[in-house]
Amino acid sequence: MTVLAVSNLSKRYRRGGKPFAAVDDVSFEIGPAETLAVAGPSGSGKSTIARLVLRLLEPDAGRIQFEGADLLILSGAALRARRARLQMVFQDPLAAFNPRSTVARALDDPLRIHGIASRSERPRRIAALLERVGLDAGLAARAIHEISGGQRQRVAIARAIATRPSLIVLDEAVSALDVSVRGQILDLLLDLQRQERIAYLFISHDLGVIRALAHRIVLLEAGRVAESGDARTVIASPQSAVGKALVAATPRLNRIKTP
């Protein structure tokens, strides 16, 4: 049983009057509680894939099966209802929230929209969500700009899991964070995956992070899949040119190994 099955997905844009393919005949699958990483150089189409999968963009060709049903035939209220199971976390946690929002409102919205909890019950749910992502429930009253970047990304994760999704798309979700905070967020993601069996479509250009967290990887180049397979195997011995270039370009700490 797969959570997400994408087949022959294509998206063309026009550049200087000429059409070019930002995503070109891309196929992949993600199983329950699995992390599939999508990596590639800048402009290779990673974010476009994320937006297509979330139906924020319409593909020119291809199929997207989500939880066994065609996602592309849905529209209007049916699509909005389906979105409860398919969530996203953005790179810049500040840009991902309405600047006027408070933490409580950001978490209240999904609960209200999908009728998950009654109005009187929601404050309790919000507190539980905050605690689930390792935040103090007292943070609820704060404005979004009054918390740190790491806390904000935790709130973004809390918002994504509020509707009990089976898949979360993370587009460079840890790239803007300090390394110390990044480690904590990755731990949280792994913990959620084990507890709630959430699958991740994890977009990143950092092979180190991918190797630490992902089960499988898809390497993109200019909108096409260059290589895919077990994350550690691919990173250990990449076969494609772009894979080799990415591995070679990843900075290494040349520490003398101490036992």
């Binding site: 199983g31 509680a33 699995e34 992390t35 150089p41 800048s42 402009g43 970047g149 300090d178 390394v179 110390s180 990044r182 480690g183 990755l186 731990d187 792994l190 913990d191 995956q193 084990r194 250009h205 950092d206 092979l207 180190g208 992070v209 190797r211 630490a212 967290l213 089960h215 550690r232 990173i235 270039a245 990415l246 591995v247 070679a248 370009a249 990843t250 900075p251 290494r252 700490l253 040349n254 520490r255 003398i256 101490t258």
Partner: protein, 274 residues
């Protein structure tokens, strides 16, 4: 050892809407002539503030204490003279994280580079353009003749950063400061820019201050590493020592948090599997 500049007890405070932020607290540091120094630390640790203070580019609202003394220009002995004021552009080249910050969107990039060369090296326009073309070749922009006439929006992020580097070294500065110059670029382009900077610094005998939040990246380029935390210099040492025998717990934490291609995957650590 000749110090290109000596920073003593540098303290910088920002005041904004009545709130005071101390961005640097008593930093003392010598930058040796010709060395490659990396300044690392997490967001808000004061890296950019230090770079801006050295370049004399701090906002007017900033309150500065302590001293930054430069080696007297072109003198064989290492007497420092506090009256020597370096000039941004001529003595210091600055490369920012976001190249659009330093490039004029409505001017061909060739003209922007030529202008730097012309004002600081007293060249004619013709000579300055010739220089700009050479520089664009040196930063390895393909077809430097065509690149001269390109506008910034016609270039990719990595290409823009190459142009920004060309402009920064156009006046043959002694010190090149790169503040997160590769953070907005993907890994492959980042590696290209880092190797470009390494080559240029070697060829011209430049002093490099490379600012980054990525300890592994900094280590690939620098001979010495300064670690900042909350505005304080917590550790300064040779790259080798910092990586293999860090003295400060914070440096150790930065090293441990790095996820390299040889790190133990978190998946295993937690015993999770699909």
């Amino acid at each position: 050892m000749t110090a290109l500049l000596s920073i003593r007890d540098l303290t910088v405070r920002y005041r904004r809407e009545g709130v005071e932020v101390t961005a640097l607290k008593g930093i003392s540091l010598d930058v040796e002539a010709g060395e490659r120094l990396a300044i690392i630390g997490e967001s808000g640790s004061g890296k950019s503030t230090l770079a801006l203070a050295v370049a004399g580019l701090l906002a007017e609202a900033a309150e500065v204490g302590g001293s930054i003394e430069w080696q007297k220009p072109r003198s064989s002995h290492s007497v420092t003279a506090s009256h020597f004021q370096p000039l941004g552009g001529r003595d210091i080249g600055f490369v920012f994280q976001d190249p659009s910050f330093s490039l004029d969107p409505v001017m061909p990039v060739g003209k922007q580079i030529a202008e730097v060369a012309r004002t600081h090296l007293n060249l004619t326009w013709r000579e300055a353009y010739a220089k700009a073309k050479t520089l664009l070749g040196r930063v390895r922009l393909p077809d430097s003749e065509a690149a001269l006439r390109a506008y910034p929006h016609q270039l990719s992020g990595g290409q823009k950063q190459r142009v920004a580097i060309a402009a920064a070294i156009a006046a043959a500065p002694k010190l090149l400061i790169a503040d997160e110059a590769t953070s907005a670029l993907d890994t492959i382009v980042q590696a290209e820019i880092v190797s470009l900077i390494r080559g240029l610094v070697n060829e011209d005998g430049l002093t490099l201050a490379f600012i980054s939040h990525d300890i592994a990246l900094a280590a690939t380029l620098a001979e010495r590493i300064a670690v900042l935390r909350h505005g304080e210099l917590v550790e300064l040492g040779d790259t080798d020592q910092i990586l293999n025998a860090p003295r400060h717990a914070y440096t150790r934490m930065l090293l441990d948090a790095h996820l390299g291609l040889d790190a133990k995957p978190l998946l295993d650590r937690q015993g999770a599997s699909a």
